[in-house]
C-alpha cells in the first residue's frame, strides 16, 4: 500500500489549468457515455426528422406555403428535440450516484453544469445542423435560406442546451420530469425561436438577417453567463 499520496498538497494549488481540464473531463465523459449508448442519440435525431416531415403532410405540398412555414417548423422541432433529450442530462448520473461525486469534486460546480450543457450541445445540437439542409430541401427553401437556417441553429442550439440544463437541474428526480421541464423552459426559449426563425424569414424576404443573428448571438452570450450558475445552484438544491 503506498503511503497516503495526496495529503493536503500545496503544489496542486497553483495549477491554473485544472478548471479547464475539469471542464474538458466532464465533456469528454458525457460524450463517451453517449457513445456507449448510441440508441438514445439516434432516437433524438430521428424524432427531429420525423416531426419536421409531418408538417408538409398536414399543411399540404405547395412549395410557396412550405417555404414560408419551413424555418418556423424546423426551429420548433429543434426546440422539442432538445427538450426530449434534456431530462437525461442529470438523471442517470443522479440515479447511480456519480452526480454526487461530481458535486464533491474540488472544482466549482458551475463547471459541471457548463460542461454537461456543452456536451449535450455537441451530442444533440450539432447533429441537428447536419440534418437541417436535408429538411430545408424538403421545404423547398433556397440554398441561401438553408445556409442562414444552419447558422441560426448553430448559434441557437447552445442556448437550448444551456437554458435546458437549468430545467433539467430544477426537475431532477421529480415524477413527470420531462413534461414539467418543457413547461418550465419553453417560455424561456421564445427569444431564441423568434430571432432564429426570424433570421431565415429575413433571408427569404430579402430584408436581411444579420440583425436577427446578432441579437441571437447576444442572447447566447447572456445565457452563457447566467445559465451555468443558476443550474449549479439548482443542482445543489435538488441534491439536498
Amino acid at each position: 500500500m503506498t503511503a497516503l499520496a495526496t495529503h493536503y498538497d500545496p503544489t496542486r494549488e497553483n495549477d491554473s489549468f485544472s478548471p479547464l481540464r475539469f471542464l474538458w473531463t466532464v465533456i469528454r465523459r458525457d460524450m463517451l457515455l453517449a457513445a456507449r449508448r448510441r440508441g438514445d442519440w439516434l432516437t433524438s435525431q430521428f424524432f427531429f426528422v420525423m416531426v419536421v416531415s409531418m408538417f408538409p403532410l398536414g399543411i399540404g405540398p405547395e412549395p410557396e406555403v412550405l417555404r414560408m412555414v419551413g424555418p418556423g417548423v424546423v426551429w420548433v422541432a429543434a426546440l422539442l428535440a432538445s427538450l426530449l433529450s434534456l431530462p437525461r442530462l442529470f438523471a442517470e448520473d443522479y440515479r447511480d450516484g456519480s452526480l454526487e461525486q461530481m458535486l464533491l469534486s474540488p472544482e466549482p460546480t458551475v463547471l459541471v453544469t457548463l460542461g454537461k450543457a456543452l456536451a449535450h450541445w455537441c451530442i444533440y445540437g450539432i447533429p441537428l445542423l447536419l440534418i437541417t439542409p436535408l429538411l430545408g430541401v424538403q421545404f423547398s427553401l433556397p440554398a441561401e435560406a438553408i445556409g442562414v437556417l444552419v447558422i441560426s441553429l448553430l448559434i441557437g442550439t447552445p442556448i437550448l442546451s444551456l437554458l435546458g440544463s437549468i430545467g433539467a437541474a430544477l426537475t431532477l428526480g421529480l415524477r413527470g420530469g420531462g413534461v414539467l421541464l418543457t413547461l418550465l423552459i419553453l417560455p424561456l426559449y421564445v427569444p431564441a425561436l423568434i430571432f432564429g426563425a426570424g433570421a431565415v424569414d429575413g433571408a427569404l424576404s430579402g430584408i436581411g438577417y444579420s440583425a436577427h443573428l446578432s441579437l441571437l448571438a447576444a442572447f447566447l452570450v447572456l445565457t452563457l453567463m447566467v445559465a451555468p450558475w443558476v443550474a449549479a445552484s439548482a443542482l445543489k438544491v435538488s441534491i439536498e
Binding site: 500500500m1 503506498t2 503511503a3 497516503l4 499520496a5 495526496t6 495529503h7 493536503y8 498538497d9 500545496p10 496542486r12 494549488e13 485544472s18 481540464r21 475539469f22 473531463t25 466532464v26 465523459r29 463517451l32 457515455l33 456507449r36 449508448r37 440515479r95 447511480d96 450516484g97 456519480s98 454526487e100 461525486q101 461530481m102 458535486l103 464533491l104 469534486s105 474540488p106 472544482e107 466549482p108 441534491i239 439536498e240
Partner: protein, 219 residues
C-alpha cells in the same frame, strides 16, 4: 497556506428531513488516526449526517469544520482531502471498472497511477472482470469498484455509508484491512455500518445518532 492539523469538528449540528427533525445539538471532533463509527436505527439520520459532513446538504443549524474552517468556505481544500462512498456506488454501468476509476480520478482532479489502479482492482478481487462493462457485475463487485476508487484516490478523510453491504466474507475482511491500514497511516474515517467490525488496534470513536442530543461515547 500554513498547514493546520487535519481535524473534523462538528459544532451543535441539527438536521431535519422534510418536517421531521432527525437530531439536534450534535458535537464531536475527529482527529487523525481515528475512526468515527456512527450507529443508530434506520431512518434516524445516519445517512443524513454523512451527507452533511460531505457538504452535499446544508444543516438546519450548527456547522461542520475542516481544519478549523467551515467547509462551506474552504470547499476546494476540503473536497480535495476527502472521499465519500454513499449507498449508491457512483459506478457507471456502461464503463469498465478501469474506465470508472480513471473517470472518477479525473472528476476528483487527482493524479491516477495506472499501475497502482490495476493493482488495486486486482487486490479487490476484480481481476477477472477488468474489461467487462460494470453493468454485468454483481452489486458486490460494483461495490468493490467503488471501494477501489477510494483506495486509488488516497484521500486523508474517508466518509463511508454502509461500505460492507453486499460484500461477501472475503470482501468484508478486505475492507477491514483497508480501514486498519488507512487509520494506521494517519488517515481518518467516518463510517456507518450495521455489521460487526473486527478492527483491532484502531481508535474507534462511537457515535449514536437519533437521540435528541447524541452524547459521544455512549457505546
Amino acid at each position: 497556506m500554513p498547514e493546520t492539523p487535519a481535524k473534523l469538528t462538528v459544532h451543535d449540528l441539527a438536521c431535519a428531513r422534510g418536517e421531521r427533525t432527525l437530531f439536534t445539538g450534535l458535537d464531536f471532533e475527529l482527529n487523525v488516526g481515528q475512526l468515527l463509527l456512527v450507529r443508530g436505527g434506520n431512518g434516524r439520520g445516519k445517512t443524513s449526517l454523512l451527507r452533511l459532513l460531505c457538504g452535499l446538504s446544508s444543516p438546519l443549524d450548527g456547522e461542520v469544520r475542516w481544519r478549523g474552517d467551515p467547509i462551506r468556505r474552504t470547499r476546494d481544500v476540503y473536497h480535495r482531502e476527502m472521499t465519500y462512498v454513499g449507498h449508491v456506488n457512483g459506478v457507471k454501468d456502461d464503463l469498465t471498472p478501469l474506465e470508472n476509476l480513471r473517470m472518477a480520478a479525473a472528476i476528483a482532479d487527482r493524479p491516477l497511477d495506472e499501475a497502482h489502479a490495476l493493482e488495486t482492482l486486482k487486490r479487490m478481487g476484480l481481476e477477472r472482470c477488468l474489461d467487462l462493462p460494470a453493468r454485468v457485475l454483481s452489486f458486490g463487485q460494483r461495490r468493490r469498484v467503488a471501494l477501489s476508487g477510494l483506495v486509488v484516490a488516497g484521500a486523508l478523510l474517508w466518509i463511508l455509508d454502509e461500505p460492507l453491504t453486499g460484500l461477501d466474507v472475503h470482501g468484508v475482511a478486505l475492507v477491514e484491512t483497508l480501514l486498519c491500514q488507512h487509520v494506521a497511516q494517519g488517515g481518518m474515517v467516518v463510517m456507518t455500518t450495521h455489521q460487526p467490525l473486527a478492527l483491532d488496534g484502531v481508535d474507534i470513536v462511537p457515535l449514536m445518532v437519533g437521540e435528541l442530543s447524541a452524547a459521544p461515547g455512549g457505546q
